[in-house]
Amino acid sequence: MSETVLETRNLSRHFEGLAAVDGVSLSCRMREVHAVIGPNGAGKSTLVNLLSGDLRPSAGRVFLRGEEVTGFAPPRISHLGVGRSYQKTNVFLPFTVFENCRLAAQSRLGSSMRFFRPARRYRAVSEAAMRAIEQAGLHRQADKPVDTLSHGEQRQVEIAMALATEPSLLLLDEPLAGMGAEESLQIVELLKTLADDHAILLVEHDMDAVFALAGTLTVMVNGAVLESGEPEAVRASRAVQLAYLGDEHHE
């Protein structure tokens, strides 16, 4: 079995009494896509925010490679090898695709308290940015400002930026949201490739993509884990069918 990169134990987050995430324990291994599905409001995005440090947990613990990182702020989580994308596109809109990724790659310099040499002369940074852009299939758009791109392409920039920080764990919050069928296929192919050398936690509504990618599937309802395990076993679960998948998957 490959190394466990991410592990949570009884992770919870309450908003004024409401348990958005309620006692979630899960793990994600290297070279594994762990998909998290569930109806709207199930707490999937909140879960990702707890893992990336955007939110602090109310209770429970988070471990990265066995080391506790509970309550760490996003910059620190990022430097421990975690890259994330956002459900709602969250990039530097006026900047070009290249500058978005260059900036993300620049964070790996260690410190950016460098005041005199032009940023574009840091060749390793530019190269890392270009690698991420090519991986995400955006090389033709590299010099375009992100706000001139299509919605689907902007979603790809989200992923490219996460890749530019050279993470080992990717937290992807609905990367396919609002994408056309063809773009979706592209991204699914990309994620398959990325799964060769990353651990991926994938929150997604697109069931075809989920079943094409996931090695482990977790279903969340009302903040809690309803079922978790191999995708086919989860799909067959009576509870899941009732609560979430409905009759369409029950031939």
């Binding site: 890259g83 994330r84 530097f92 070009t96 500058e99 900036l103 620049q106 308290m113």
Partner: protein, 347 residues
């Protein structure tokens, strides 16, 4: 093509600024000196407001404290050393910026504006209401600092032409320094913070540290401007760190164009010349200045610098220097011929 014209215009402007003291009389040379000092001050604020997205309404605190430091450091009867007094003033302003920054940078948006204003006002009343440095009357610098390099005095600060060139050199150095910094990894980080601080944090930047360093650099450069201003006038008073001063320099940045190197240059020159012109026309000159600022805010959201031809969009770079000095300089020779302004320069 337009870029080429900009370069030519910039060279013409530099040439004009270099020969200007040979042609202009004392009043105008001192007036342009004052404008160049404000260029330094406005450029320092622009680093915060225009590039990092931190709107400070207390930037005069650093301008004023540097003035007070050189005034208090200067002995009564003889001159202080230029280098030591400059280092103390700029260093003092930087230290103050570090202390204030540690506190105010924990807030954002409107709270940041109010917090910066509050600290500057505290400082204002500290000097206004106590006898540390002459209270509301301020304090004089009886002898201007002496600039020596190994016993040689290349520049006489009491000579208004010498002082003009010294200030011009500092203004040019500050603009070049900012240009270099903005291209550096640090510069890319602060511009990223303005555009999307949340995302900067999630890709691994501890944005607080970068904002603090930026605040200290801006404070130090404002201190340089305050030092030069105090030396020019030979007197400092609490007005120097009051909210009027903070507001006035903020208007220069907005009028000229935030987030461009040319903006503060154009803003400082045009606001000061407008004030000079309006003062010669009417007692109610502030009303006219206000109208101009409202019009610019309404119709030129990118400030006067927005009128310059834009460079092709680069990789997230902001347009830089361009014909900055040119416009302002060419207009300063067409002197507005107003009566001497309120303050009588002692240089």
């Amino acid at each position: 093509m337009s870029h080429r014209y900009q370069q030519i215009a910039l060279l013409v402007a530099i040439a004009l600024l270099l020969v200007f003291p040979l042609l202009g009389d004392r009043f105008y040379v001192q007036f342009v000196t004052r404008m160049l000092i404000m260029v330094v001050f406005a450029s320092s604020l622009n680093l915060l407001v225009g590039y990092t997205g931190l709107v400070s309404l207390g930037h005069a605190a650093f301008f004023g404290i540097a003035g007070y430091i050189v005034a208090l450091y200067s002995p009564e009867a003889h001159a202080a050393g230029f280098w030591s007094s400059l280092a103390l003033s700029v260093g003092g302003a930087a230290l103050l910026a570090c202390l204030i920054g540690l506190l105010v940078l924990r807030t954002s948006g409107i709270f940041f504006i109010m917090a910066t204003l509050a600290f500057a006002e505290m400082l204002f009343y500290l000097f206004h209401d106590t006898s540390i440095a002459g209270g509301s009357d301020g304090i004089y610098i009886n002898e201007r600092p002496i600039l020596t390099i190994g016993g040689w005095v290349p520049i006489d600060l009491s000579n208004f032409v010498h002082f003009y060139y010294l200030v011009l050199a500092f203004a040019a150095a500050v603009i070049l320094l900012l240009r270099v910094i903005l291209q550096s990894p640090f510069g890319k980080v602060i511009v990223g913070i303005r555009v999307n601080e949340h995302r900067m944090r999630s890709i691994g930047f501890d944005t607080f540290r970068y904002k603090l360093v930026c605040f200290v650099i801006a404070g130090a450069l404002a201190g340089l401007a305050g030092y030069l201003s105090a030396v020019q006038f030979g007197v400092v008073n609490p007005e120097m760190l009051g909210w009027h001063q903070s507001g006035s320099v903020l208007m220069m940045v907005i009028l000229g164009g935030m987030g461009t190197l040319a903006g503060p240059v154009i803003g400082a020159f045009s606001l000061m010349m407008l004030e000079e012109l309006f003062q010669s026309m009417t007692k109610h000159w502030q009303l006219l200045t206000g109208v101009v600022i409202v019009l610019v805010a309404l119709y030129l959201p990118r400030g006067l610098a927005g009128l310059l031809p834009a460079r092709p969009a680069g990789n997230g770079e902001l347009p830089s220097a361009g014909s900055s000095a040119s416009r302002s300089a060419s207009s300063n020779t067409a002197s507005t011929g107003g009566a001497p302004a309120g303050v009588q320069d002692r240089v």
